[in-house]
Subunit: 137 residues, 2 copies
């Protein structure tokens, strides 16, 4: 099949720089981070505000794309599993999926709580949550 071209809408700024030290999930001690959206895309943020929960999709640019089975959570004592049963970053199309809360928003700069993505990670998309309060948007 032919390839698909994505253009990042922004980048993550974070104090996390070392993949080996980064938490695997947001609830494992991830720090605040800043989503810096490109000027071309900033109009798409209209209506977001502090306190909103959002779905963030990132491109895990330091992941390996040629892995189809691995040891869950890099724990060699666990049996290998297909990557499509796991949340491993290593997979053919390493799209990161994160649910985060907006702490603060200043134009194209969106500060979020507890994000496990590394500094410099490209941002692909932001979506509203599917929940009764906002699914009608």
């Amino acid at each position: 099949m032919s390839t698909i071209a994505l253009r990042p809408i922004g980048r993550v700024e974070s104090r996390l720089t070392d993949p080996a030290k980064a938490p695997k999930q947001a609830d494992e001690g991830a720090p605040e981070a800043l989503l810096v959206i490109e000027p071309d895309f900033a109009a798409g943020l209209e209506g977001l505000k502090a306190g909103d929960e959002i779905i963030l999709m990132t491109w895990l640019d330091r992941a390996q794309r040629d892995i189809l089975v691995n040891h869950p959570r890099s724990d060699k004592s666990r049996p290998v599993a297909g990557v499509f049963t796991t949340r491993s970053p290593h997979r053919p199309n390493p799209i990161g999926l994160h649910q985060v809360t907006i702490a603060d928003i200043d134009g194209p700069r969106v500060r979020v709580r507890s994000l496990e993505a590394l500094d410099g990670t490209p941002i692909l998309d932001i979506k509203g949550l599917l929940n009764p309060d906002i699914e009608q948007r």
Copy 2:
């Protein structure tokens, strides 16, 4: 920023072919569908079974990518909102996000319940759910 190249891991087979008639969300009457995974990627399915809930990411290839604000749910009586506050398919990187249950799996053919994606939609990724039962995988 430079572009990112994705390679679909498979395609959706569905009786939904007309975007205008497709349900907007899975709980709005979406039919069963088949995820047909390419042979090169089928090893990544190892361990998935009927009854599992999964996160499915698709490429919404019939969406418009040059839209940053729109009327939520295509309802012109609603005020426009930034696409990053919504679940509209129309957005710069139209990645579809679906939570589906596996009805049946036969090698690289995964039948799922209630999927609102159109026939032929490229599949980008499948992930395990983040929940207490499987997050340790």
